[in-house]
């Protein structure tokens, strides 16, 4: 692609997405406070400020690092617009990442390209709509629908996550077997051998050491080709 097109992609997409992404995320903050404020004004139901601060401190001590560690870890997969969308809509590892990646695979575009970013954006948008529909149906009619799910189906739901992650892994392990083996070895080491590290540390460690290994082996191959 020539510079002309790159520049216009910047203009048409990147700059506008930053603007939209910023106001939708920051604008969502007052909106998500509405239920808490309503409980306060209508029913006087509000814990003492000190309790809220204590709870905030406690929850931030668990997730505080993830506020920046998760966006950074998933950024190479989601791209910029995917990050704006995923961190408003949530369910990142189990819904947004697989949907973005599968959309790219089906359309046949590469991650890290402009085409890849657009396809990931649309794949994530599609997944958000599905998610909103399912969650809304569950909220309105869940209790009525649940008897229609036989116990064996309920049990099978336990395996959705490992199955999705297994499929996602092999989709790419076929393309980059060496990185796949490296990723598995490093996560086995961190999860099974060491085992005490918190999630916010293990996820970026697995992702970034595998990236590091990929960069190293890519540069190494390039050097060898030059000789």
């Amino acid at each position: 692609m020539d510079d002309q097109n790159l520049n216009s992609y910047e203009e048409i997409f990147t700059k506008k997405i930053i603007k939209t992404g910023r106001w939708t995320l920051l604008g969502a903050i007052p909106l998500c406070l509405l239920p808490a404020l309503y409980l306060w004004f209508k029913y006087g139901a509000i814990p003492p400020v000190k309790t809220i601060l204590t709870a905030w401190f406690m929850i931030a001590s668990i997730y505080g690092v993830e506020y920046f560690a998760t966006p950074i870890s998933y950024f190479p997969i989601l791209g910029m617009s995917g990050t704006y969308m995923s961190f408003l809509s949530g369910n990142i590892a189990n819904v947004r990442v697989p949907c973005a990646v599968v959309a790219q695979d089906v359309i046949g575009v590469k991650g890290g390209t402009n085409e890849g970013e657009l396809v990931a954006t649309l794949g994530i948008a599609g997944s958000i709509i599905t998610n909103l529909i399912v969650v809304t149906i569950a909220a309105l009619a869940g209790n009525v629908l649940i008897p229609y799910f036989p116990p064996v189906v309920m049990k099978a739901f336990d395996y959705v996550l490992p199955a999705i992650f297994g499929a996602l892994f092999s989709l790419f392990a076929v393309k980059y077997p060496k990185y796949g083996i490296f990723g598995m070895a490093i996560s086995a080491f961190l999860v099974i051998v060491i085992g005490v590290l918190p999630t916010w540390l293990v996820v970026p460690l697995c992702s970034f050491t595998t990236i590091g290994y990929a960069i190293y082996s890519y540069r190494h191959r390039k050097l060898q080709d030059e000789h």
Binding site: F13, R22, T24, A28, I29, L31, P35, L37, L39, Y43, A45, P47, T51, I52, A55, I59, Y63, E66, F68, P71, S73, F75, P76, I77, S81, Y84, F87, S89, G90, P98, V102, T113, L118, L122, I124, A125, G126, N131, V134, V135, A138, A139, M154, Y159, V160, L161, A163, I164, F165, G166, F172, A173, Y176, G183, I186, S187, V203, S207, I211, I215
Partner: protein, 230 residues
Amino acid sequence: MKDYLEIANDPILWVMAIPAVVMVGIQAYLFSRRAFEASKVTTLSKEQCRKAFKVGAVSAIGPSLSVFVVMLGMMAVIGGPVTWLRLSFIGAAPTELTASTIGAKAMGVEFGSPEYDVTAFASSVWTMTLNGCGWLIFCGLFTHKLDRLQDRVAGGDAVLMEQICGAAILGTASYLVMSNSQAGFDRFVAALVAAIVMVLLGKVSEKAPKLKEYNLGISMIAGMIVAVLI
């Protein structure tokens, strides 16, 4: 005394949850529209853009349904409206449950116990809300900075960039498979079967490209079935 549940299911509370949920939908709409517009300066066709959206929508059915089950459990304790908002929004079921529990603890009661009253419920809501805001603030302010970081690492080398994406997916997926497998042999089997079926389907869909968009769903179901059977 479970009368707080009446408040937790107050119809006006539903109305209060609507704006945040609608914002998620609006953002998805705006971003898709921009992506369609921007596709003109890339090699993507409108048809491919529509297809990308559809693949995302179809692939999300399985994982969204799994949220469905957790959701019903959450609704029993924190009511419909707040569950609806929190699961349409940043965070996922485990995060929200942890936050609700901590909100209750800060009030000195157990989450879901008979002592869990309307103030404890409000405390859970505040904790979930403030926790979610952590991501909104960081990503709202700094996402565009991450872009430059990545450009600097790859130095404009498109092949390297692609490899970085692939390695990031493999590193993350490896961890997710590993931590899930650790929770039980049956989960490991689900991951393994899904992985094998995905490879096989990848080979098949070289000949039948139409099949490709269902590969993830089929692999997932295969993994689930075998794991239930063993």
